[in-house]
């Protein structure tokens, strides 16, 4: 009966240990594996169990963020890993000794910073009951979202001369970051766009020439042969193939 009477807080520790073990274990897996795709997969597992740690701490929004951004970002990494290195020569990575030394220095110094920060915290070991109360109380991401739109819930009463009550949120940095991302997105689309048409037509009347080009090709009777030629030697993944418009 003693075993049955183990109370609630130990669940947290139980799952914490599980998630932490998975995260650390697959972190080492990333380090020690030589196959790019397996590395990415281990990284996914490691980051996913870190998301589990966030969920365990009651930070659901951060946990879902972790899943969406970090794990989803690793997905893109995995795709590029497969796409770019799916040949036999590159699929296995051999790490040189100097790389190991360099990585140990960089990683070790970062670890030292982390350890100093962790052990430097004054209030590290809070009593168990207070800890759990915190966990169950803070489950809302609404204040965070409001702060991003300009309303700081925690500082509603405070006001400076410049800003009104509760208006000292993070709207400005949020907008700046958003515009930055938008610029990056447009730039990426610009760089990734197909440049075939501009090569074909040097003068300003490229649109007219495009129309002419299309009209000429519409009259071609050999549909099937055209199809083959169009797709020969091209990546099937190219979404912006100009010949496939409509």
């Amino acid at each position: 009966m003693d075993l049955l009477a183990v109370a609630w807080p130990y669940w947290h520790q139980f799952f914490f240990i599980i998630f932490a073990t998975i995260a650390i274990g697959f972190g080492f897996g990333v380090l020690l594996s030589k196959n790019v795709v397996r590395m990415a997969f281990y990284l996914v597992l490691s980051l996913g169990s870190t998301a589990g740690l966030f969920f365990l701490a009651g930070a659901e929004f951060v946990g879902a963020m972790q899943l969406m951004i970090y794990v989803g970002g690793t997905l893109v990494l995995l795709i590029f890993g497969v796409m770019l290195t799916a040949q036999k020569d590159f699929i296995n990575m051999d790490t040189h000794t100097q790389d190991w030394i360099l990585a140990t220095i960089v990683g070790g110094s970062l670890l030292m910073v982390l350890l100093f920060g962790a052990f430097g915290a004054e209030d590290w070991r809070t009593p168990q009951d207070i800890n759990d109360a915190h966990v169950s109380a803070t489950k809302e991401a609404t204040p965070l979202g409001l702060a991003l739109t300009g309303i700081r819930v925690d500082t509603l009463g405070e006001s400076t001369d410049a800003v009104a009550d509760g208006k000292s949120g993070y709207l400005m940095p949020f907008i700046i970051v958003s515009f930055h991302l938008l610029v990056v997105l447009i730039g990426a689309a610009y760089m990734a766009r197909t440049k075939k048409l501009s090569h074909a037509t040097d003068d300003k009347s490229s649109r007219a020439k495009l129309m002419l080009f299309k009209m000429e090709h519409e009259e071609e009777p050999l549909e099937e042969a055209k199809y083959v030629v169009t797709h020969k030697g091209k990546s099937a993944l190219n979404p912006l193939d100009p010949n496939d418009e409509n």
Binding site: E60, V71, M83, A137, A141, T142, P143, D165
Partner: protein, 427 residues
Amino acid sequence: MADFINNIFGIGDSWVGYLIAALIAAVLILHVVAVGALLFIWMERKISGRIQDRLGPTRVGGKYGWLQTLADGIKLIAKEDITPDLADRFLFKIAPYVGLAASYAAFIALPFADGVVAQHVNTAVFFVLAVLGLEVFSVILAGYSSGSKWSLFGAMREAAQVVSYEVPLGMCVVVPVMICGTMNLTTIGNMQAGLFTNWLVFNDPFTFLTAIIYFTCATAGVNRAPFDLAEAESELVAGFHTEYSGLRWSLFFMAEYSSMFVVSALASILFFGGSHGPIPVGQWIGETIGGTWGLSISRIIGVGNLLLKGLIGVTVMMWIRWSFPRLRIDQVMTMCLKYCVPLAALGFIGATTWQYLDLPTANSLVGNPRYEKHEMWTEGVGVTPAADAGPASGIPDPEPHSEDKTANTDSVTVKTLPVSVVKGGER
């Protein structure tokens, strides 16, 4: 629930209650996944048969071939589990489980009715989308590790497709979140209680557009025809699962069918009233009986409603599959980048403007006051966690009660945001 079980056994605050509560939720969800897959595969056969003017399965298990899927399952279990020589064994073996785990995990935060949910997640919309996005891992891993070119092509197509379609999907999901002012699926569902005019799909023309775009992108996101490029039989043999056989092969399909159900259920919660029927019969019955019994009965009716709506969504997906030809990969990309993303953006801007200008919704035209009735009703019972939170959990009052107005809320001037969420911290 854990406390309830512990009280029955009289063992105080023990881990046994938590374990049993977790097991009950897990087993129930597993039944939705497994039995759902059995039903959906049978439906797929029958519907495709009827659309193509044939009968579909008729022999196994009575007149309509009810047990056809079970027979298929037995056949699949009996098949040999082959691993190709060129395969990356570990990844090849683990890939189907990744997909199934992802689509299973999405059910954790999916509320089947008001309060009938495995785990209350405050940002459930986000959670479900994030977890469902992980399902593509299984396809990519399977495609890569099979050591076959067909598989790799299928996986790459799937990756390009899913990564692109997550953009308009996210933009569509933001619209109900914006209108309701919360990411909590339970609250979003409850806010659509009452007549069907209250459903967000009928809120304004832009939400209607958004609902259609959402369903299109969701169909693409779960890799269904006409977007099933990853397993295009005519070009890629069977795409990413070319090299799979037996039980592992069937796990891919269980994952596919359960994520079809997840996105359909998510669509019904976000746009089509969640667990509330077109006419609030369950709510009336619950109010008439009253108390815990009334609440339970109305919840059971609500679960039925949601399952039915999810089933309708899955049926529509099958109907689409057997009616349209498969798109080419560039057409899929064109569809996403040239049509879905701009239309989703238009829907988002339009719905925002509609809310900002406070234009009439379908509900206000009917003259049906939103949310009011339901709030009174759940507050009276006061059992559900959602009801415990009350209006403070993010349910915006169209006309906030005078006693709810505190001095702080006056400072909030963003019109479309629910005023009462400012107090959301107190729970």
